[in-house]
Assembly symmetry: C2
């Protein structure tokens, strides 16, 4: 691979980094608008994602999702409950557990903010062909695989080519 080809690929990496920064800024903006901090936003997103899958998060599982200790989760849920974004619901089956339910207003605010972004992203993909989207899809999965390994600290990655055979 010559220098020019490498440079083009490096530029995609830089573009990806820039996109990452802007995506983080979207979350930051939601936090600013609603008087929350980044952890609170991450927690609300986690609760909303769980709700979308039909399961109600417990305090403990939320702590795993956002990587906080139980003391911090208690403070976190206190904050969110104080402003009316979530409710604590003791589980009748196991009364040690505390389920978390998002309020309708918080649900609506999240859908408005992040749903609006999703809608606009889909809109911006309108003119892409199926083939083009398939390329992007494959690229995103490949990049995610690499990034995930780095995030887990698992260097080095497998030496490319997942069984395309025919080599030597």
């Amino acid at each position: 691979m010559d220098d020019e080809a490498t440079r083009a690929r490096q530029e995609l990496g830089l573009l990806l980094r820039r996109l990452n920064v802007e995506l983080d800024a979207v979350g930051q903006r939601f936090a600013d608008v609603h008087g929350l901090n980044r952890t609170d936003v991450r927690a609300l997103v986690a609760i909303m994602d769980a709700a979308r899958r039909g399961e109600a998060l417990t305090a403990g599982r939320l702590g795993e999702a956002v990587d906080l200790r139980s003391a911090s989760v208690t403070a976190l849920v206190d904050r969110l409950e104080r402003v009316g974004h979530v409710r604590r619901v003791r589980d009748p089956e196991d009364r040690r557990r505390v389920g978390l339910e998002m309020s309708e207003s918080a649900m609506a605010a999240g859908a408005e903010h992040f749903g609006g972004l999703a809608r606009d992203l889909v809109g911006a993909m309108e003119d892409y062909s199926d083939e083009e989207l398939a390329v992007v899809h494959r690229w995103l999965e490949d990049m995610t695989a690499v990034v995930t390994r780095h995030a887990r600290g698992e260097r080095p990655p497998p030496p490319t080519g997942e069984g395309r055979g025919l080599e030597f």
Copy 2:
């Protein structure tokens, strides 16, 4: 656009979100490994980016880059200087200003961590054709434009089609 086509585009949005999470995790890992917090990492990245462009950041510009008040920047630079990652260098031209220079060890650590990721990303793009990479490039720029508008709170986006003409 039928439902299936929309669904495929929504899935790309989800993939992008997942990739964003993993990219953040890479930064978090660097922070963990080196005993830093996320702000410190963002600051080091900002200083390194500036250095790559040949300019030395001042304390004030670093504060703009990572969105911190001057009091926090002082504490931030204190932390980084204490562990030997940056040096304060008073500007001889304007002796109010404090330039920031990264130490060689910090430079090397950053290059090792993030440079390694960049290298692996480029490696994972090896088998993509120029045409495929061009599609990805265009897609990344389009998505960045949408996300950036949301991050700035500038809804709604321009109604698609940048002068493809022929419509009415």
